[in-house]
Amino acid sequence: MLISHSKNIAWRVIDGKAYIVNTGTSCLHSLDEVGAFIWQKLHKKCSAAKLVDLLLKEYDVEKTVAADDVTGFISELKEKGLIEIQND
């Protein structure tokens, strides 16, 4: 499974937070610092496992917690139409 930004989004990272517009709905979403960290990695296609690895390198967090967080985060972004998921 490869994850990347949706086509119809616009975004900036300001003061550590990511602000993302779904240009189809004009809805603005924001992500905190950790969310913004993951978000920027999705500029290119990336797997969930890779995201977990990147989180572990950057933050002091248990692997199981990071994996759960990534799963929840991906599901949330998908629901908001901000990412595309491709099967390998």
């Binding site: 616009a10 975004w11 240009t23 924001s30």
Partner: protein, 341 residues
């Protein structure tokens, strides 16, 4: 919990980010609209590479919402290339156009590029529309563009200034927009020309017609009774007589000149030879502009209609030569707004 929108606005104000930027790509136009504020000039425009360099600078400076306007932007051969480039830089992109040059290929490409909207100037039915554009057949061409954009699912907003020429068409415009599921924005405020010539204002609606507009609940909310009006005028509860221009709003001319807003012709610098940071964050002019506040508008402070005032500092500058001046246009509207309340 703070909403994403409030959080972004707060961050943009705190850092003076040009969150909203309107970029004039050209002053050339194929129409001669009666109310147009641009002055015909033969100055050279930024080339493709220069525009792209400026877009890079804007993205780095924190601009999120970008609008390309003109003139008529479809006169630029590189327009689609610039749109695609802006989207690659993750801008939320909107275009302003009269629609007359939009082809099927443009509509297809714009759909692929992914815009937040194309805002098309449509002034009313054929007779009023072409009386304003001064061009035969322009109504038909604009309607064709609207159909194409709709077909290829490009979001559309119809926009029109309301003049004494098209006043009787405004209900038709609303009906047309609703029927086609287009957003619409109608505005009765006419700006003087960029050289300060106010003769355009002979097309402004009469007080009676303005009253009709401001009391019509079908019109956009932003036009109607924006401020609660009170006869108790004290400084702490009057509206801010300055706007976001130069704070979180920027304008860029076809020559690369940065303005606080394209309506506020107070040049801050030129992106052809200066960095955005030096112009926006370090220049004395930008800093001075941000210090202006309601209390500097001495004449307005005495006005009993101040609480209904939607003064535009740019129009005030053009009308009076002073950014803090008393704008006749704003006074007329504030007087009507006060009476409606």
């Amino acid at each position: 919990m703070i909403s994403p929108s409030n959080s972004l606005t707060e961050a943009a104000y705190k850092n003076n980010l040009p969150l909203y930027t309107v970029f004039e790509l050209t002053h050339r136009c194929n129409l001669k609209c009666l109310h147009c504020y641009l002055i015909k000039q033969n100055k050279s425009e930024l080339n493709t590479k220069e525009v792209k360099t400026i877009l890079d600078k804007l993205a780095r400076a924190g601009c999120l919402y970008l609008c390309f306007t003109g003139g008529e932007i479809f006169l630029r051969k590189d327009l689609l290339e610039l749109c695609a480039y802006a989207r690659k830089l993750n801008f939320d992109l909107r275009l302003f156009s009269n629609g007359t040059l939009i082809t099927k290929e443009h509509a297809k490409m714009l759909s692929e590029i992914g815009l937040s909207a194309v805002e098309i100037s449509l002034y009313g039915r054929k007779k009023s529309h072409e009386q304003i554009t001064a061009k035969n057949n322009s109504f038909k061409k604009t309607l064709v563009a609207l159909k194409l954009l709709k077909k290829y699912k490009v979001p559309v907003r119809i926009k029109a200034p309301l003049l004494n020429i098209n006043f009787n068409d405004y209900k038709w415009l609303i009906k047309f927009a609703k029927k086609n599921k287009f957003e619409y924005r109608l505005d009765p405020v006419l700006a003087p020309q960029n050289n300060g010539d106010c003769t355009i204002q002979r097309f402004q609606l009469s007080a009676e017609k303005l009253k009709t507009i401001y009391t019509d609940k079908k019109l956009n909310k932003y036009l109607i009774n924006q401020y609660e009006v009170s006869t108790d005028v004290s400084l702490q509860d009057v509206p801010d007589l300055f706007c976001n221009a130069g704070k979180v709003f920027a304008g860029i001319s076809p020559q690369g000149i940065v303005y606080p807003c394209l309506q506020l012709l107070y040049p801050l610098g030129n992106l052809k030879n200066q960095s955005f940071r030096n112009i926006w964050h370090k220049s004395k002019k930008a800093k001075r502009l941000r210090k202006y506040s309601t209390k500097d508008c001495k004449e307005c402070l005495k006005c009993s209609n101040i609480k209904a005032c939607r003064r535009c500092p740019g129009i005030a500058l053009l009308e009076t030569g002073k950014i803090t001046g008393k704008s006749k246009t704003a006074c007329k509207i504030a007087e009507i707004q006060s009476k409606i309340q």
